[in-house]
Amino acid sequence: MSNSTTSQAFLEWRQKKTTKPTSEKVIEFIIKGAGFSSIILIAAILIFILKESLPFLLSKFDFKEFFMSTEWYPASVVKIRYGILALLVGTVLVTVISMLIAVPLGLACAFYISEFCSPRMREIYKILIEFLAAIPSVVWGFIAIMMINPLIINTFNVPIGLNILNASIILALMSLPLIVSVGEDALRAVPETYREAAEGLGATKWEIAIRVLLPAAKNGLMAAALLGVGRALGETMAVLMATGHSIQIPQSIFEPGRTLTATIAAELGESPKGGEHYQALFAIGLVLFILSFAVNLSADYLIRGRRK
């Protein structure tokens, strides 16, 4: 009998102990709310961009013209046309060319820092990577105009140095820190036992790198490249300043072009709020959002896939 009352008292005591006071409940509610903030924000970004571009998408939007025509004349007096093909090609060109430069170099660098460097040098290189990553895009754009521009004119003997090549070089330099650091993480995630096993079989570091690490870290390295693509795709100020700003499909890398991001940055200021041109620019924003979303999702998929 007395035994049961004791346990009753204990249960009550425990109950009191485990029910939280109201203040604690409120705080935990706030913490939960903040936890969901990123979902809310990403949804809000989509909703607001849709909201501003919807009138255009519903009335003037013509899928064929929008994606297949190179004629972007939002302020034409005769006939207003919204074709983003040239801008899309510009974005794809600078992204692809910059990645052709940055991915091999960046991965080579990641290999060196992860496999060959002394720990001390690794720390120094990591700090340098952080510094390189910290240079703001507008400064890169300035460098494109003042440094790369004359360099291209003199080396290749072409009339203008603000072109696809210039923007690609700048983008390559800008996305390198990201590629190197993500690539290095991927390489370091390969278990040490893999290296030891290969070394035990008499493999040199070069053989380990190519035959063991490359296949083992393949997904992570591809994710590094994809994140670089995402970075290059969304870059605005630097490409705005470096591409030379002409709406056309470039015939060579020495011709100027224009990207999706640069178009928004250059034209939004002068388009009247709520007007058709303004809404069309938001529609471009929507295209960019979807593109970057797809790239990031695939990068995440690659990284997760590796962990499983």
Partner: protein, 289 residues
């Protein structure tokens, strides 16, 4: 006596070549950063002086100093950190201490990743649609700082999450075992032990927002203002935007001016980042686990 076969010698040579190739690639990748800073310093130093930092731009921004742009950048950075820091830290606490390993948490992680990958100009569009127009803040420091805060949120969440996870689980268990609630454990055990890491992440994000241009382009930054901002509802100038303006939009700016502006911007960001690096290495040596 052991004599390496020609096969082994070839391997050795190949190995050396490979290593040299990689090390020279790495070296040359970091060379540009050094060249750029040196080159900005050389070209910009003629106009860089105390007056340049403390005077207003005059004659249509072709002479004078950059004082209002520094003030504007300061406003933007401080306000945006005030918004993004608490929100980001609390969100990270949720993810590290509360979130169960389920689909919802996975969606939150994906959202953070995507938020970090959204192009800055799309953030600008969002800021324009949400803060400037929908919330009727107008183009103002407030709207621009909010936009920057949204941009920085994933950075702060990720770095905070990392430092929260670094606190050993045994610390939490010890705290629970003496009867502390979950919240008390977070407040008195987890946060104090991870403050250094959180701080480092926040300082890095300060450096990032100081250089951002595209996101504040349409939300609160003006090309030129004859007066300093008086409240958060005014527009302001910013260092990054000023560099864009005088290097592309204004004719007749003496060459050294944009160089000096770029130099000031880079030095500002590098010094902020150096603080973060120093903080990190200082706390690393003091770490208890």
């Amino acid at each position: 006596m052991f004599r390496p076969s020609s096969h082994l010698i070839n391997k050795e040579i190949k190995e050396k070549k490979f290593k040299n190739l990689l090390s020279s690639i790495t070296f040359f990748l970091f060379l540009p950063a050094l060249i750029i800073i040196l080159w900005l310093a050389i070209k910009g130093s003629p106009v860089l002086s105390w007056d340049f930092l403390t005077q207003d731009p005059i004659n249509g921004m072709t002479a004078g100093g950059i004082f209002p742009t520094i003030v504007g950048t300061f406003w933007l950075v401080v306000l945006s950190v005030l918004v993004s820091c608490p929100l980001g830290v609390i969100a990270a606490i949720y993810l590290s201490e509360y979130a169960a390993d389920n689909t919802l948490t996975r969606i939150i992680r994906l959202a953070i990743l995507n938020l970090a990958g959204v192009p800055s100009i799309v953030h600008a569009l969002f800021g324009l649609g949400a803060f400037v127009l929908f919330m009727k803040m107008g183009t103002s420091i407030l709207a621009a700082s909010f936009t920057l805060a949204v941009m920085n949120l994933p950075v702060i969440i990720t770095s905070t999450l990392e430092s929260l996870k670094a606190v050993p689980h045994s610390y939490r268990e010890a705290s629970w075992n003496v009867g502390a609630s979950k919240l008390q454990t977070i407040r008195y055990i987890v946060l104090p032990n991870s403050i250094p890491g959180i701080l480092t992440g926040v300082v890095f994000s300060v450096g990032r927002s100081a250089g951002e241009t595209a996101a504040i382009l349409f939300t609160g930054v003006a090309f030129y203002l004859p007066f300093l901002p008086r409240s958060v509802f005014d527009q302001c100038m910013s260092l990054s935007m000023h560099l864009f303006t005088i290097s592309t939009q204004v004719v007749g700016v003496p060459d050294a001016y944009p160089y000096a502006t770029a130099l000031v911007l880079i030095l500002l960001i590098l010094s902020v980042n150096s603080i973060a690096v120093i903080l990190r290495s200082y706390f690393r040596t003091k770490r208890k686990w």
